[in-house]
Symmetry: C2
Subunit: 404 residues, 2 copies
Amino acid sequence: MSMTKSKLRVYDDTRALFHLPDGVIYLDGNSLGALPLGVAERVNRVITTEWGNELIRAWNSAGWYAQPRHVGDRIARLIGAEAGSVMVGDTLSLKVYQALAAALDMNASRKVVLSDTGNFPTDLYMAEGLIATLGRGHQLRLVAPEEIEAALSEEIAVLYITEVDYRTGRRHDMAKLTAKAHALGIVTVWDLAHSAGALPVDLAGSGADFAAGCTYKYINAGPGAPAFLYVAPRHADTARAALSGWMGHAKPFAFELAYVAAGGIERMRVGTPPVLAMAALEASLDIWDRVDIAEVRARSLALGDLLIAEVERRCPSLKLVTPRAHERRGSQVSFAFDGGYAAMQALIARGVIGDFRAPDIMRFGITPLYIGESEVMRAAEIIEEVIAGEVWRRPEYQVVNAVT
Amino acid sequence: MSMTKSKLRVYDDTRALFHLPDGVIYLDGNSLGALPLGVAERVNRVITTEWGNELIRAWNSAGWYAQPRHVGDRIARLIGAEAGSVMVGDTLSLKVYQALAAALDMNASRKVVLSDTGNFPTDLYMAEGLIATLGRGHQLRLVAPEEIEAALSEEIAVLYITEVDYRTGRRHDMAKLTAKAHALGIVTVWDLAHSAGALPVDLAGSGADFAAGCTYKYINAGPGAPAFLYVAPRHADTARAALSGWMGHAKPFAFELAYVAAGGIERMRVGTPPVLAMAALEASLDIWDRVDIAEVRARSLALGDLLIAEVERRCPSLKLVTPRAHERRGSQVSFAFDGGYAAMQALIARGVIGDFRAPDIMRFGITPLYIGESEVMRAAEIIEEVIAGEVWRRPEYQVVNAVT
């Protein structure tokens, strides 16, 4: 844990807690967060001291067994969740699957899962797979994000959406949609991939039923860091655990032949937790424990406004697709541009790392823990050079790589 | 990678490649393998150089995206699998779930999943969960391990068993059972938790359909290390991916709204791979690439024979539950003893680390990469002290901990 729990000022104190390579302006923390300096030592300690010396005993002596729940409680703070309502593990794909399976079970007489075309594809794919496994005639209905509210009806079993759109940065109104959904008997599943660590979330206050998120984006826990699942306490003892692994059993070490779900959020554990990845997550949370998410949000909006103003002034051919209204925006700024893929390659070659999302979206993530005004201003200058200076048209930037 | 690919002699060369704490005889590598010395540096490099400096670019530049398949090919060598047939990721619970879901889909007219009471409980629990989700009247039928062969019939859809029993160390005959299963139209799913890195497995030669295993036991990849899934090449392009995440999509970075399964084993990927854990796994495989699994097996059997002979001679009250016949034994030796829990606590207090499995099984894992004759002889002396000397009766060893 951190030596002191005194508060850290966002950027002024936190920038020095991250490693960022020279010559890079990193605007892709919404895809993979930057490296907190405390991670390497923490992971090394778990490898050498806990695994190396304690060996199997570390499940007790180092607290590995209870860690997924304890870490869940640290994440709960960031997303307005009740203590004991968040479990860490697996990947976001699996956590939305668990949530949707439980939600559909709670509303078995209805057959429609409502989502939107701005949801991240893996959520839709996992739902397709679940629906096929269920084989009970469920339908995944997709509407445009702005049509979600009007599409809520008593036909819908589950509202299954991502709060902040991964391409546009458009933000849904969680409290309003959840209230309307509940009035119509709809269970809600929220994906917080672009919310957790990006902006204040109020799961308990909004009455959300289920939520899931990842920790490798704004939380900065590293590539492939574990995901988390939230189950509202009123559902936790009854929600069906579709992925009923031994760690979610009421008595995992009794090795009984029949499954009996543990009480509460424990039932949403599946297999053996990823201890090394959990160490990196703990080190990243050492920073989050000491910052005010409201301050992060205020800085994010100001930096986003600055980036929008500077890019629009310098590059009129870039069309803003992120809502201008603060309450409808996440923590990224996205522009549509026909040459977006090539332009992003040119930017990355110049040290401005954002990313591209098909068909034509250039994304810039705003992560105030390690990005400030000077970085945003410098990025805007380089964007101007690439776009207005037509650097993006050079042949070397037209080659499409396999993965971005 | 290792500096040289020259062969290593088992124990004589490999013992020095592991960290083992002073005063410990570690006979629990069948639960959590010991720490290979190369892990800490490898993981540190991935954290500082790849994540820290390359950031999001490392998905391409450091090969993170392709790693689960490349590492799968390294594991394939150990289990007699074809190149391109093994995918790494998630946990064993999830991998047996994927395998069983695909297997049931291939044999949809039959409704019985056959397993045995020696299967590891999470396999049974995951099957229960899948059967409930399917809701198509499937039945999980459990028989005693020795009754499996006789229980095969044309009523069975899937034979779903663990090759080596986690409690007794009893080994099923994979080739024989698979052949008989196939003759009856049964699809096979093998759990290799106590096989991979423990003994030669011949998936291709035995004609197995699906298999899954973990890497934190005999492979020594660390606590919560990722699992793997094998799909026979003849099924890989048609097996249904029930956990249909974006990484298993034919074009993951096209971000299409509808799921289209990738060809081959790639469809069994789910979400973002655990990159830090994968680094530890790669370091552990640097040793496995250079040893001969047949030599590991020969040493394991000899050490097991020695432990059995010494314990039976010194402690007649311990009843061997592991088969004596080499071909029917995995790489552990287990004894039933009414005071087993207390005795194991007393042994651990004296540096002999094995483990206990309810109701009365004392397990000792044989891991010849870092356990040799002198360790086995010393362990036998301490077992004698604890059992024959009645040390296990002391009150301090009767207290049951939450997790063992």
